[in-house]
């Protein structure tokens, strides 16, 4: 299929592959916004349900993933709306301690050079990029890599669960890592 045909072919929804392909990606997206694992899980689940229910409205102009992320975005906003309406109104909390010098207003302004803030944004993008690359891996490699790197499972446990031997496992990990390097290359390996 050449590039032009690719653009013309509308995207198709294939809900049976959603969990395997997008669950982790969406979960990371949610967790970086709500900062609560249980809640993030619920939001991902709700997103899938909403996706199923409104599948007929899918026009195919955007990719499946973009479409699901758009739904999740709404879910996150709805969550914050709900939690704010319980209090009656939106509130902004500011903590202020008198110890710093200068006017307090000046101290509240975001520091564009702040390492922690910028890192936060960058790390989130990095996380999404890695998950995007993981979802492109062959399923067995993706599984092994996730179990080893993200869940930090022991080699023995993984081997038992997938009934493979350790040398198989390490070859899978090696292949996964090389593909990931290639996939992340342009944007993240700039040295």
């Amino acid at each position: 299929m050449n590039q032009e045909e690719k653009i013309r072919t509308p995207h198709q929804l294939n809900p049976t592959t959603w969990v395997d392909q997008y669950a982790d990606y969406l979960y990371n997206y949610a967790i970086s916004r709500v900062n609560d694992e249980e809640l993030a899980k619920d939001l991902v689940q709700e997103t899938f349900f909403a996706g199923l229910n409104s599948a007929k409205n899918f026009k195919g102009t955007a990719s499946e993933r973009t479409w699901l992320v758009a739904i999740l975005k709404r879910k996150v906003i709805d969550h914050y709306r709900k939690s704010n309406s319980k209090k009656g109104k939106a509130e902004i909390r500011m903590s202020y301690n008198n110890e710093g010098e200068g006017s307090w207003l000046e101290e509240q302004i975001a520091d564009p050079l702040s390492k922690s803030e910028n890192d936060g944004i960058e790390n989130e993008e990095l996380g999404m990029a890695i998950h995007e690359c993981i979802s492109k891996l062959p399923s067995k490699q993706a599984k092994v890599f996730t179990m080893k790197t993200i869940h930090g499972m022991s080699t023995e446990d993984i081997c038992n669960e997938l009934s493979i031997n350790p040398s198989n496992l390490w070859v899978l990990v090696f292949r996964a890592r090389s593909s990931l390097m290639g996939c992340l290359n342009e944007n993240w390996f700039a040295v």
Partner: protein
């Protein structure tokens, strides 16, 4: 002497601190002579750093199959 494939596999293993002493020795010896594997090894370490930085999260397999079950029931 080990092959490039082996050296790269050991290098990946070493990212999880699970390569044995002799494996590491063989790998370093190989990396000294092989430029490709040297580059691979540097990138691999960088990848480990990136993964740590991103503080990746993922659903476990059981959670995923539960999710799948729920979706099946719903559709």
């Amino acid at each position: 002497m080990i092959t490039c494939e082996e050296s790269k596999t050991i290098c990946s293993k070493n990212q999880y601190k699970e390569a044995s002493w002799s494996e590491r020795f063989n790998m370093y010896l190989h990396v000294l002579m092989c430029k490709t594997c040297f580059k691979f090894s540097r990138k691999n370490t960088k990848l480990t750093g990136l993964c740590n930085e991103a503080s990746l999260q993922a659903l476990t397999d059981t959670e995923k199959s539960e999710l799948k079950k729920k979706l099946d029931q719903n559709s």
